[in-house]
Symmetry: C2
Subunit: 393 residues, 2 copies
C-alpha cells in the first residue's frame, strides 16, 4: 500500500488548504502592488533592536533558555504580561491566568481542543478570519455565522443564535477586525460578556490588532466585563513586535487554562523560551510603547492614503472606516464579482483578497479586503488608481 | 454560569495531566540527586556559541526572520536538512519531503491529526514515551501495546496485532528508546518497514536520541527501508542542540506531509523562523558534529558510571544495556514496588521515575527508569549508593 491510498482523518473532509494561499502564489511578480497580505511592514520589524538582546539573553541565560521549560510558560514573561494586559486590554490578570502560546493561532487551537467535540457549535462573525475558521473546521465544529455591521457583530442576532443553536463558543475579533477593520462598540462588548455568563457559552476574544490604533479612543476588551470567567482573551505580539517569533498569550479563567495547558503539553511542550524571553525583555525594558507609537504613525499615513485612494474608486458603495489595524473592507455595487476581477487586477499589477472567502457560507462576491501595511504611500496611490481602472471596466 | 460548570471536550476524558510532572514537583529540594528527568545536561547547551549567531541572523536577516513565514518551513533549513538526514538516518529525502516542526512533539501531534479518528488503533511499544501516549489519547486513539525485549519491539507480536487490530499507525522509538534505552535490531527495522507496506499501516518513527551514541555501530532508520512511503521519520534537535528552541522535523511522503502542513497551518502557522535559522546555521557551519562528539564523550562517562553503580545495586534482576541516549531501565525482583519506594528514595535524596507509568496498561511496578545526563559522575555514584540503601530496605 502507498500513502495515496491512506484514509486520512475525517477532520480533513472538506478542507483543501487556503484559497488565499493560492492567491499569494500569483503575487511573486516584481512590481506587483499587493493589498492582499496582512503582514507587518518590514520597517516595523525591530531586527536591529532585538539582535543585541538575543545575544545577551543567550550568553547570560543560555542554560535556562535553551533547556526544556514549563508548558505553563517562561515565568518572567508570565510576570511581565499582567502589566501589559492591564494597560492595553483593561484586564487585571494574575500570572497563573496567563499562558504564553506559540502565536495566538495556537490559543485558538487550544481553546477548540479544550472545548469542541465534533458537531459543537461556534458562533462567528460574518465575515471573519479565515485561518481560525479552518482551525474550527479541523475540530469538526459547526460554524454559526452571525451578521455584523459597522459596530461589529449584531448582538441581538447573536443572542438569538445562542438560544437557538446552544453553541459551545463565541469567536469574535472585537478591534480592527480581520477582514473588515471594524471595531465592536462598547455596548456590544458588555452585552457579549453578559450573554456568555447568562447562557454558559465561552467567548474566544481574539484581539491582536488593538495596539495598532491610529485615531479614536481605545475601548476596554470584552474580557474586562467578564465577571463569570467565561471570556478567554487571545493576544499576540505578531502585529506589534514580530510574527516570525510566534509569541502570543491566552488570558483565561484557571479552569479553562488548565485544559489548554494539558492540550499544549502534547502540541509543542512549551513555546520556545528564547522567543518568550525576547518578548519579556521588550516589555520589561519599556521598548514596546515607543515602538508601537512609531509604527502607528507609519500605518496611520498608509491608512489615510488608502481611504483617500479608494474614496474616488468606481463601483465602491461602502467602505469600512477603520481607526486602526491592517485592513479596510469594501463593498461594490451588486453585480461586481471580485473573484472574477482578481485576475484582471493582478494583470494590471495590483492584488486584493475577494471578500467571499471570509464568509462562512461564501457569497458576497461584491466585497473585497484591502491591506495597506505592506505598501508605500506611492504604491497605495498607484494601486488605488489601478483598481479604479479595473473596476471601471 | 462559571467555567467549573463547562462540559469540556470528550478528548480530555480520563486525561489528568502527567504523573511524572507531579514527581518533578518533589524534586525542588537542594542537593537532590535526580535520575528522574530527561533533560540534556546544561553543559551540553551551546548558549555561548548561539549568541553571536542569533545576533548576526537578526541583524542581517531580521526582516525575513521576524516576518511571517511559510508553514512548509524556512527554505534554507529545508535545504540543509537533507544532508543531515542522509548522514544521520541513512535516508535520502528532498526538501519538499521535510517539514520543520515546533519540536518533534508537534510531529507526533500532526501525524495523529492527519490520520487518527476516535477509536483508531495505534500500536505502541510497551513500555513507551509517556508524552506521546498522552498525545494519542487526546486524539482518542485506541492504544495497542506490544511487548518489547532487549532487541526492541517484538515484531512477530507486532504483525499479529496489525492483522487482528487493523491499526492506523505504528509508533516506535527505535534507537535508545525512552524509557528503556534499548535499540531496535536491524532485522526488526526491516520487518517493520515491510509490515507497514504489506498491511497499509503508517509508521511514526520517533528517533530523537540517535546521534547520542557512545558505543557500537549506528543502525539505519526504519525509514531507510521504506519503499512504499508509509514511514514518517520524526527527528529532533532537542537532544543535540537545544530543547528550548523547539525545532524538530518530520520527513515523510508528500501525501502525508501535505495533510500535516494543513494541520500545522492552524496549530501555529509556522515554526519560529529565528529558531529554524539558528538550527540551519548550526548545521551549515558544521557545528553539530563537533558539538555532538563533545557531549557524547561527557554522556558516555556518565552512562558508564551509572551502569557500574547499578551493577551492584540490591534487588535489580535486569538492567538494559544502552549504547547511547539518556536512559537506562531496571527491573527489580518481583514484589518490589518502585512507586511505593519513591517517597523513601526522595527522602534519602535520590529520585527516579517508576516504570509503571510508561506501560499503556500500568503494572510492572518492579521497574524504574533512570536518567544519567543531568548528574555529575560523583552524583551518579552517590545516587546509586542511596538507591542501594533504599532497595536493600
Amino acid at each position: 500500500m502507498t500513502p495515496e491510498q491512506i484514509s486520512f482523518a475525517a477532520r480533513f473532509d472538506g478542507i483543501s488548504g487556503s484559497a488565499i494561499r493560492e492567491i499569494f502564489k500569483l503575487l511573486a511578480v516584481p512590481g506587483m502592488i499587493s493589498f492582499a497580505g496582512g503582514n507587518p511592514n518590514p520597517k516595523a520589524l525591530p531586527g536591529e533592536e532585538l539582535a543585541p538582546i538575543a545575544d545577551r539573553l543567550l550568553r547570560e541565560k543560555g542554560s535556562v533558555l535553551l533547556q526544556y521549560g514549563a508548558t505553563e510558560g517562561y515565568l518572567p514573561l508570565r510576570e511581565s504580561l499582567p502589566a501589559y494586559i492591564e494597560d492595553s486590554f483593561g484586564v487585571k490578570a494574575a500570572p497563573d491566568e496567563i499562558l504564553p502560546v506559540t502565536g495566538s493561532t495556537q490559543a485558538m487551537d487550544l481553546m477548540c481542543k479544550a472545548l469542541i467535540n465534533p458537531g459543537d457549535g461556534i458562533i462567528i462573525e460574518d465575515p471573519t478570519f479565515l485561518g481560525n475558521m479552518q482551525c474550527m473546521k479541523l475540530y469538526q465544529a459547526r460554524l454559526i455565522p452571525v451578521p455584523s455591521d459597522d459596530d461589529g457583530i449584531d448582538v441581538d442576532a447573536l443572542e438569538k443564535a445562542v438560544i437557538k443553536e446552544k453553541p459551545k463558543m463565541i469567536y469574535v475579533i472585537p478591534t480592527f477586525q480581520n477582514p473588515t477593520g471594524r471595531t465592536l462598540s462598547l455596548e456590544r462588548r458588555k452585552r457579549i460578556a453578559q450573554i456568555a455568563e447568562k447562557y454558559g457559552v465561552a467567548v474566544a476574544e481574539d484581539d491582536p490588532y488593538r495596539d495598532l490604533r491610529y485615531s479614536g479612543e481605545a475601548l476596554p476588551s470584552i474580557k474586562s466585563f467578564d465577571r463569570a470567567g467565561m471570556v478567554a482573551l487571545m493576544g499576540s505580539f505578531s502585529k506589534v513586535i514580530s510574527p516570525g517569533l510566534r509569541v502570543g498569550f491566552l488570558c483565561a479563567d484557571k479552569t479553562i487554562l488548565r485544559k489548554c495547558v494539558i492540550g499544549k503539553q502534547s502540541s509543542d511542550v512549551h513555546t520556545a523560551l528564547l522567543n518568550q524571553a525576547l518578548v519579556d525583555t521588550y516589555l520589561r525594558e519599556g521598548r514596546l510603547k515607543p515602538h508601537v507609537k512609531e509604527i502607528c504613525a507609519m500605518y496611520a499615513r498608509q491608512l489615510t492614503a488608502m481611504k483617500k485612494g479608494l474614496s474616488s474608486c468606481r463601483g465602491i458603495v461602502h467602505l469600512t472606516d477603520p481607526e486602526g489595524g491592517l485592513f479596510i473592507f469594501a463593498e461594490m455595487e451588486k453585480g461586481f464579482n471580485t473573484v472574477d476581477m482578481l485576475k484582471k487586477a493582478v494583470d494590471r499589477g495590483v492584488a486584493y483578497v475577494p471578500g467571499t472567502y471570509f464568509y462562512a457560507e461564501g457569497g458576497h462576491e461584491n466585497t473585497l479586503r484591502l491591506n495597506f501595511s505592506m505598501s508605500s504611500i506611492d504604491e497605495i496611490e498607484r494601486g488605488c488608481e489601478l483598481l479604479n481602472q479595473v473596476f471601471g471596466g
